[in-house]
């Protein structure tokens, strides 16, 4: 069974954040309990420490965007978007890259694993002058794989750790120190200028790569407009039904589409399981697969679970599940085929990561339904009021180097990272993302297009180790680029930084079981198997066994390290 289908494919990685990072927080925890947590550190570092280890930012001047970044609220900004790839790409790396070393890497992959030693791997290895062997591992079960690797201590030279997988690993903040190389001596401050493409990764991305006051992670898919995802609809079906999507600006209006769009005899249902993407409509603080925290009117810290909006959310999801307008397979928990249902028109409204909106999605959709058009709902609030969208840290996914590597090896890998992080529109970008011209891709006026061989072997592998600031580009599918850029430009206007923004915090382990148990009840209520009153009972249990401990813990974090705002 797959996880929430939101976390699929490339740009989704903008969608996640990290909870993790650790300074000596033992005094912090001694206040709130005994047991396992008290001897562990929470991974947090204060703002000044974080600032002192972060690399200097030096923007790249390689290309100018066709649709420039739009500045939003609270420091959010949309990604630069491109309609064409420069005809004569610039060179961003000078001098030799690798020095013939041989390294093993592990990255997540949502798709079929390409054959080892293929033409794309060969092209990139030739270009970097080293042998980098990537072993992609299924992204849907990646957390389990990571937890096992951490428990056994079997860590490859270069490892990708998605932020949303961190909670599955026992006390990640401690594991970072034990297994990963501290990159502070190599990258902090101006030292990063030796690697200009890494220096062009915006500061926000590096921030969540800091653990225990030291720089460990190389940020991936860095974006200042990083959101979990959105509600999508089938543009073609809406058009045929004469529905104006921009008129949908409340939960009630969304629900009212149910009977109109459900045609059971055709096997068409209005809704997919909208999962946690409903959180952003119900203004529930949310970060990285967890509900987040906020202060209520009295100044008390409350968890997302405890807010009145959470009950609104559950009521809505529960009534939707009972309405008969949600696809039965979605209610049966089969999230792995959510995309297929949407492509085939079995569902009309779905929810997914921002990364779902791209050219390859359009190709899959058109194959199932020739008229297929994916569109995103503009952000709205459940009560028709002012929408708000919690900003995720600028990078939600990081790659780490093995602690056992010596300094020369680290430098070689950082030079390789610098190569892989070449900005959009450069020669190195072409090689890193598309392989070799004529072998795996063809250059067209709108940009590089993978050929048959390329479609077989080029996939997200090396770019899950290091990459440049996120850009929006879909060669030859300009409408998608324009639509997504417009959606993001609107969304950033409603962005806010939630409490403990981009802070790496490892929660006391003994609270995990209670949260797992509460989530099981939330799923039951969402799927219509239990009532909202069952949730309230479960919430009380959760507060007693975990919630109140977490409250004290986060009060301590806020007092000692601030709230990240």
């Amino acid at each position: 069974m797959a996880p929430s289908h939101g976390f699929t494919r490339r740009q989704v990685f903008r969608t996640s954040a990290a909870v993790g990072g650790a300074i000596a927080a033992a005094p912090l925890l001694s206040a709130c309990g005994s047991g396992k947590a008290s001897t562990k550190n929470s991974g947090v570092a204060d703002t000044n420490t974080v600032k002192s280890v972060i690399p200097t930012y030096k923007a790249s001047t390689a290309v100018t965007a066709d649709i420039p970044s739009v500045q939003g609220a609270n420091g959010a900004a949309s990604d630069p978007a491109f309609l064409t790839f420069p005809a004569s790409p610039a060179k961003s790396v000078t001098g030799p890259v690798g020095s013939g070393g041989s390294y093993q890497a592990v990255t997540p992959l949502w798709g079929s694993v390409p054959p080892p030693g293929n033409s794309y791997y060969t092209a990139v290895n030739q270009a970097i002058g080293a042998t980098l062997t990537d072993s992609p591992s299924d992204g849907t079960t990646y957390a389990t794989m990571l937890a096992t690797r951490f428990a056994s201590g079997n860590i490859p030279d270069w490892l990708d750790v998605p932020g949303w997988n961190v909670s599955a690993i026992q006390n990640f903040a401690e594991g970072v120190d034990k297994y990963f190389k501290d990159l502070t001596p190599f990258l902090a401050g101006d030292k990063v200028l030796d690697y200009p493409n890494l220096a062009a990764i915006p500061t926000g991305g590096w921030q969540a790569g800091v653990w225990n006051g030291k720089l460990y992670g190389i940020p991936l898919w860095t974006s200042a407009g990083n959101f979990p995802g959105m509600l999508f609809y089938r543009g073609d079906i809406f058009k045929a039904a004469g529905i104006d999507a921009s008129s949908i600006n409340s939960a009630d209006k969304l629900k009212a589409l149910g009977p109109e769009l459900t045609v059971k005899s055709k096997g068409q249902y209005a809704f997919e399981d909208l999962t946690y993407y409903l959180y952003q409509i119900f203004n529930i603080p949310f970060s990285n697969g967890h509900t987040g925290w906020k202060r209520d009117s009295s100044g008390k810290l409350v968890n997302g679970y405890e807010t009145p909006e959470y009950l609104e959310f559950l009521n809505f999801a529960n009534s939707l599940a009972a309405s008969g307008w949600v696809h039965p397979d979605a209610l049966a928990g089969d999230s792995s085929k959510a995309k297929n249902r949407f492509w085939a028109g079995k569902t009309v409204i779905t929810a997914d990561g921002t990364g779902a909106w791209n050219k390859s999605d359009a190709q899959s959709g058109t194959a199932a339904n020739p008229g297929y058009v994916r569109q995103g709902f503009k952000l709205f609030a459940f009560d028709g009021g002012k929408p708000s969208l919690a900003l995720y840290p600028a990078a939600g996914m990081f790659s780490y180097l093995n602690k056992k590597l010596n300094d020369d090896q680290v430098k070689e890998l950082l030079r390789i990272a610098n190569y892989l992080a070449a900005p959009f529109g450069t020669q190195e970008y072409l090689t890193a993302r598309y392989g070799k011209e004529g072998t795996t891709y063809t250059m067209t006026p709108s940009g590089p297009i993978l050929n048959d061989e390329g479609n077989k072997v080029v996939t997200d592998t090396f770019d899950q180790l290091a990459n440049c600031q996120a850009v929006t580009f879909n060669a030859g599918a300009d409408q998608i680029t324009k639509d997504y850029a417009a959606w993001q430009a609107d969304a950033v206007q409603h962005a806010y930084k939630p409490m403990f923004y981009a802070m790496n915090i490892t929660e006391p382990a003994e609270t995990a079981k209670a949260t797992t148990a509460l989530e099981a009840v939330v799923t039951d209520v969402r799927m219509g198997r239990k009532g909202v009153s069952d949730y309230q009972a479960a919430l009380t249990t959760w507060q007693n066994s975990a919630g109140n401990t977490l409250r004290t813990f986060y009060e301590g974090v806020a007092k000692q390290y601030g709230t990240g705002n």
């Binding site: 069974m1 797959a2 996880p3 929430s4 047991g35 396992k36 849907t140 079960t141 990646y142 957390a143 389990t144 937890a147 951490f150 428990a151 949303w164 997988n165 909670s167 599955a168 690993i169 026992q170 006390n171 401690e174 594991g175 034990k178 059971k264 005899s265 096997g267 249902y269 999962t275 946690y276 697969g289 967890h290 696809h327 039965p328 397979d329 209610l331 049966a332 928990g333 089969d334 999230s335 079995k346 929660e507 382990a509 609270t511 995990a512 079981k513 949260t515 797992t516 148990a517 989530e519 099981a520 009840v521 939330v522 799923t523 039951d524 969402r526 799927m527 198997r529 239990k530």
Partner: protein
């Protein structure tokens, strides 16, 4: 091992049975022989079990040392040796958790339902297949009922979903004719019957093999003389077939009871999203979800706790051991062989 085999090959066959001195002792159970002589006699058989024994030691007994994590706060970075020892702390936490008891209850209920509804099916199937005289028809039926055994549960559940699910063949048909749909795949209340139905569909055919073998072992002469004495079909079944099967049925029942607490890990895990933790959490999945965890969408685990999971697993193992020993004792009390002959 190669050396031993060669040496054995050189041994004159005459000496294998210990010569004339113990020649008379070759009864079925080898009674009266001392173990050294018996060992010499069964040397080649014993040797043949060595690879299996090594595997058993390596993969079943050696890892048992890991049970120790159930008695500590196991920290993956400290290792088994350096983690804090907490005695029965994890067990206390486990037994105080209502979710654990709920998973325990689910396990017992599902196991009981399967015992009543699943266990008799292979026996009935075996009796049925045994009455078929045409070898070809028999082989065909056997092949058809064996086949699902080789499907994984993922496939079995997908097939069930395609037929009985809300968007499956049956419900699409019902919807087209204006009849309200029949919710069976996502109903937590009837989940125990659903998993039993899946188990029957997948495994009953495979289960019949052992009963067919037992049936084949019944002397046909008994049937012939009974028929000559005027016994009808039913009387032959009651007085010959069923008593002939009794030993194997009791053995299977004992084994079944020993496994009573394992009611299908994959099957539950896959369908947990469909019916919820309340219906689908059993001891095995509980131990996995809270102990090891992993990302399963909205069923995601928030942090692994190996010690807790190990405690849950050990609790189950101890109960299973008690169950199998108890069932075996019961079998002996009824004069049957059980797991071994007393």
């Amino acid at each position: 091992m190669a050396a031993i085999t060669t040496q054995e090959a050189k041994t004159p066959p005459r000496r294998r049975f210990g010569g004339a001195r113990t020649g008379g002792g070759r009864t079925a159970r080898g009674g009266g022989m001392n173990w050294r002589i018996r060992l010499r006699r069964d040397k080649s058989l014993v040797l043949m079990t060595v690879p299996a024994l090594i595997l058993l030691l390596l993969f079943n007994y050696l890892p048992m040392a890991g049970i120790i994590v159930a008695f500590e706060h196991y920290d993956i970075y400290q290792g088994i040796v350096n983690s804090d020892f907490v005695g029965l702390g994890e067990f206390r936490e486990l037994l105080a958790n209502p979710d654990f008891w709920h998973a325990f209850e689910n396990t017992l209920v599902i196991s009981f339902v399967q015992l009543i509804l699943y266990f008799p099916v292979p026996i009935a199937l075996a009796l049925l297949v045994n009455t078929i005289l045409s070898t070809r028809a028999r082989a065909f039926i056997q092949a058809v009922v064996y086949l699902p055994h080789f499907f994984s549960f993922v496939l079995v559940i997908t097939i069930f979903q395609e037929f009985l699910g809300g968007a499956g063949v049956l419900n699409v048909f019902l919807n087209r004719h204006g009849i309200s749909s029949w919710d069976v795949m996502t109903n937590p209340h009837t989940f125990k019957y659903l998993v039993t139905a899946q188990a029957v569909w997948k495994e009953a055919g495979w289960g019949l093999i052992v009963f067919l073998a037992a049936l084949a072992a019944i002397d046909p002469a008994l049937y012939e003389s009974a028929a000559v004495d005027g016994a009808g079909r039913w009387r032959r079944m009651r007085h010959i077939t069923l008593p002939g099967l009794r030993g194997i049925v009791v053995l299977m029942l004992v084994l079944r009871l020993g496994n009573a607490l394992s009611v299908g890990f994959e099957q539950m895990l896959i369908q947990r999203q469909a019916v919820g933790a309340g219906a689908a959490d059993v001891l095995d999945t509980y131990s996995y979800i809270y102990g090891i965890g992993g990302g399963f969408g909205s069923a995601a685990t928030f942090g692994a706790d190996y010690s807790y999971g190990a405690a849950a697993g050990l609790f189950k193992a101890v109960l299973s051991l008690i169950l199998i020993l108890g069932a075996n004792k019961l079998a002996h009390a009824f004069g049957e062989d059980g797991l071994y002959r007393k």
